[in-house]
Amino acid sequence: MTTQITSTPPTARFRKEASRWPAGSHAADVGRPSFGWALPAALFFTLFAIVPLVMVAVLSFMSWNGLGSPQFVGMDNWSRLVDDPVMLKSIWTTLLLTALGILIQTPLSIVLGAWAAGHQRNRAVLSAVYFVPLLLSATAVSVLWRALLDPNFGIPADAHWLFGDGNLFGKQATAIGVLAFVSTWQFTPFHTLIYQGAARAIPQVLYQAAEIDGAGRYRQFFHITLPQLRNSMITSMILMTVGGLTTFETVLILTQGGPGTDTTISAYYMYEKAFKGFDFGTGSAIALTLVVASTVISLIVVRVSGYDKMRSSMEGVA
């Protein structure tokens, strides 16, 4: 739900900006679909995104355990949440994991994407193999890694020099490391795909010109490839941000928020409150906080990066 809502502003804006028909032109109206075509989508969006969101907002001021009728409790859930050390900690953990995801996955997927954009032999095969993690569900991936990282029967049992006693899930630093690693393993292929597509769209003439000027491979990469990937980078980073803020399955299966509350990210905390503790009021308040936070962060990224102006995309097409 959160993803839909937060990802909508950029897309909507994109459509408006990229529209080729000037507003008010009669010629444009002729071939234009009527508003009716938007109804099904609008209806579904209202039914499954707007209505639940409003209900969640209302519920955040209520006390409800799923039985009987909710009781209005005013700001109780919110004020308790503000004082809740676990909530505060969960926000930091969420931001840390999101930041780690961006910092690790961005360089990795740029390099891999630029590499996979080439035409050399075996790349297609290797790329195909490499994209396999993307096809697996986050649940399957988490179950797989939980088994692989078992201290007595998994990889750590044979690699003491690297893992020590193998207690990866028993300490905060290593537990967060595992979460960052697993999401990198799963999602880097996706971002690589974005960069691969973008890198293939870079006009060859730029490289030919650079070669004539005597620029080496590294110079070409840093002065042509990287700047040309700028818009893709922003797209990818927004997706990573939203994905990071709403990460859930990996935590549910790999750490259950542990040890203690060390990896209890906000989305998991919401689940824990609402669906394990049947405190839907507090759960709704956390959910709303997440919606607001991810919307704000996405908007900041869009503004700061100049993505909303779409400055260079038309040049890229040409």
Partner: protein, 434 residues
């Protein structure tokens, strides 16, 4: 214009869809409103035991005018889905639960039928079951559940081969357990396997130690809202003994990374890398399917060790006392429901449960123990539960659902040293008790 004509149909479509979605939320095509269709709906946790439940429903339907319908919800979603439908027209007449805190919110909301009147009419509904088990479905002095399926006491399992190699006997006392830990460690194995990643296996150590040291009254008081109980000398003693065991290296160093649910901790015992594991009685069946040869030859089991000067009875047990059937107050067919519940102490029920490895807690169970999959094991368990003065329901199930996660977190944090005894006491005092 077209648009306007289409609108009502679209709205109708949307409404139908929304309705369909909400209907499918009850998890089963059969889950229709139970109000006036002359049927009673029996909602159970969906798993292998459904075989017996189906059989019992069929037996009931042979003689009853009001027919019973069995609805199942897949295990992992059971509690969540139950909570969402129990106050709606889709609510069942009879439903499966764990007693204790799992039904407490429903009792509070006035949804459940007190069973005293049923019991008054048919005292066997109470007398046919082991008293220690029946107790855990009593809320505020009123019975709300009739036992079904089987009991699951927690036992101390061991690998006979590993213990022999280290010259260790199954420990009867706490000191013997500490001695065994030392010897097993010297022999290069993890003394006690623990699936700390799942947390609830860790909780079992607390449940037993608290009971042995303080007796059942401490937890009972705390559970009823007396926060001082957690600060008592007995509570602190129990915590210090747990710490002693952890610090002695009884569980190794990486227990938080080991899970029971993915088979890792049972594999430690089966492969001879660990000596003991404290686990519910389902462990036996688990080992039999995961490591058949080991289960048949080298898997041993004993009761939890006694603790010198402890106030608790050494015969007390902890675990899942049983599963229960509770009844919705608004059922249209209370007589039929009462008749259905009587089947829970029938010979047919007991035999069918034993055949699939469950251990019912009816007084007539001993008659049929020889027909179970492993008569010795069944008899050991049955005697244990029959003789137990108290059977402590797992803490996280005795408390209301909101307390479950905080309990498990505190237990994990105390074990791995993130919080000390005072921190643990504080965490337990902060638990919601209702």
């Amino acid at each position: 214009m077209k648009t306007r004509a289409r609108l009502p149909r679209l709205v109708a479509c949307g409404a139908t869809l929304a309705l369909a979605l909400s209907l499918s939320a009850c998890g089963n095509g059969n889950g229709k409103a139970s109000s006036s269709d002359g049927k009673i709906h029996v909602l159970v946790y969906g798993d292998a035991s459904n075989k017996v439940e189906k059989q019992i429903v069929d037996t009931f339907n042979k003689t009853s005018d009001v027919k019973a319908v069995l609805d199942t919800i897949p295990g992992a979603d059971y509690q969540q889905k139950l909570q969402t439908i129990i106050n709606t027209p889709q609510a069942p007449d009879i439903f499966f639960n764990w007693g204790g805190g799992s039904i407490q919110p429903f009792v509070k909301a006035g949804l459940l039928m007190p069973l005293d009147s049923f019991i008054k009419k048919d005292p066997k509904l109470d007398k046919s079951f082991l008293p220690s088990v029946v107790k855990s479905a009593v809320v505020d002095g009123t019975p709300y559940g009739v036992p079904m399926r089987g009991t699951q006491p927690v036992l101390l399992f061991h690998n006979k081969k590993v213990l022999d190699a280290a010259g260790v006997k199954p420990p009867q006392t706490w000191d013997e357990l500490l001695g065994a830990v030392k010897k097993l460690k010297a022999n290069g194995v993890t003394p006690i396997a623990l699936g700390g990643g799942d947390r609830w296996p860790t909780l079992m150590w607390f449940e037993y130690l608290y009971d042995r040291i303080a007796g059942p009254s401490l937890f009972q008081k705390a559970h009823e809202g007396d926060k001082q109980a957690w600060e008592s000398a007995d509570s602190k003693k129990a915590l210090s003994m747990i710490k002693e065991l952890v610090d002695a290296g009884a569980f190794g160093k990486n227990y938080d990374s080991v899970k029971y649910t993915n088979g890792a901790s049972p594999a430690l015992l089966a492969s001879g890398k660990a000596g003991f594991e404290l686990m519910g009685s389902w462990y036996y069946a688990q080992q039999q399917s995961d490591a058949k040869a080991f289960a048949e030859k080298d898997l041993g089991y004993t009761t939890f060790p006694t603790i010198p000067e402890g106030k608790g009875d050494a015969a007390d047990v902890v675990g899942n006392t049983n599963n229960f059937y509770s009844v919705l107050k608004k059922t249209k067919h209370p007589e039929a429901v009462a008749e259905f519940l009587k089947l829970m102490y029938s010979d047919e029920f007991v035999k069918a449960q034993l055949a699939i490895g469950n251990l019912p807690t009816t007084t007539n169970t001993p008659k049929f123990l020889d027909s179970s999959a492993d008569p010795d094991y069944s008899r050991f368990q049955y005697d244990l539960v029959a003789k137990a003065p108290t059977f402590q329901l797992s803490w996280d199930q005795a408390y209301p659902p909101a307390a479950g996660t905080p309990i498990q977190q505190a237990v994990q944090q105390f074990f791995n040293g993130q919080i000390d005894a005072d921190g643990f006491i504080e965490a337990m005092q902060a638990l919601p008790t209702e």
